[in-house]
């Protein structure tokens, strides 16, 4: 198809698609009039049944926890997939000593980070990691959870990179260890579910004590545990993803520093 023909066909099709959407939206109750019954039913049960005051976390890690297992393994598969897709690239880099012009251009484009900025960024690492940790362990009470906490934990390590300490980043993120952490997080989630089966309960049953009162950090049983495992999985997966894309740059820097 020529671009023009494609655009015409798309214009007609898009008009049709919009018409479909509008027809469908006509059948929705207006905005702000969510009719239920799923949401209200969960809101009614969540706190008495799970002792978690963060209802979204209760859904994510308990009522619809099985969805979240799938979701974690999507991230897991994506990280593994990136390792597959980029692996040969890495292997080639290590063999071929000749550099492409693109590398030379990129070399020039890595700006040296100034010392004050470097220090300032490194100072941020601690609090950021702490924030991530806090988020991952407070799913049951606050609008947070393993996923957000994991991403922020990962960004703590990304800050290390941004501060120019890419060698340190590499040292902090050996692929094997990260793979293992990721697998422990995702596999641990599945194992928590399996542990229920061993006890004769349904898969993913919330079998841990729920704590005495809702809204405390030790409340909500497996919700807190799963959120923590998800945090590990997500943090490791994101560091892996960033690491895979960084690899090339890092190798070059290692080589350059080796020379100097």
């Amino acid at each position: 198809m020529t671009p023009k023909l494609r655009l015409w066909l798309f214009a007609i099709a898009a008009a049709g698609l919009v018409a479909c959407y509008l027809w469908a939206f006509g059948g929705l109750p207006g905005f702000g009039n969510y009719p239920g019954p799923y949401g209200p039913e969960i809101l009614k049960r969540a706190i008495p049944e799970t002792n978690a005051t963060g209802v979204v976390s209760a859904i994510n890690f308990d009522y619809r926890g099985f969805d979240t297992i799938g979701e974690e393994f999507i991230l897991f598969a994506a990280a593994a997939g990136m390792s597959v897709v980029l692996r040969r690239l890495r292997g080639e880099r290590e063999q071929q000593q000749d550099r492409s012009p693109a590398d030379e251009v990129m070399n020039r484009n890595v700006p040296p980070t100034s010392s004050p900025l470097r220090v300032a960024t490194l100072v941020l690492v601690g609090p950021t990691a702490l924030l991530g940790w806090w988020l991952a362990t407070h799913a049951q009470t606050n609008p947070s959870g393993g996923f957000q906490g994991g991403v922020i934990l990962a960004s703590a390590l990304m800050l290390v990179y941004l501060s120019g300490e890419s060698i340190a980043f590499r040292r902090f993120s050996p692929v094997d260890l990260l793979d293992a952490a990721e697998a422990m997080g995702a596999g641990g989630f599945a194992a928590v579910g399996l542990a229920a089966i061993v006890q004769g309960l349904p898969f993913l049953d919330n079998y841990l004590p729920l704590g005495s009162s809702p809204g405390t950090v030790t409340s909500s049983g497996t919700i807190a545990l799963i959120s923590f495992l998800v945090g590990i999985e997500v943090a490791a997966a994101f560091i892996l993803i960033v690491g895979e894309l960084l690899e090339q740059t890092l190798l070059r820097q290692v080589r350059r520093e080796g020379k100097s």
Binding site: M106, N109, Q148, V151, L245, T249
Partner: protein, 84 residues
Amino acid sequence: MTSPAVMATLQVVVLVLVAAGAVLVVRTRERVRLVIALSVYGMLLAILFFVFQAPDVTLSELAVGAIALPLILLLAIAKVRKPE
């Protein structure tokens, strides 16, 4: 507590901004600017989710849409930059 009328106005404003943000992202063809546009769009979406009373999703969208994805994109762009 904000009154529903104030809330509704706020929601309309942010929705309009998001709609415009989508156009901004799609219209930006230069790669580095594209990443900035995407980051702004992620931020707008996060604000929208906040006014939709979804702090949980706000936090994820901020972490992913406004920070992590643009970072990954930047790294990928750095790798595919053509030799000049």
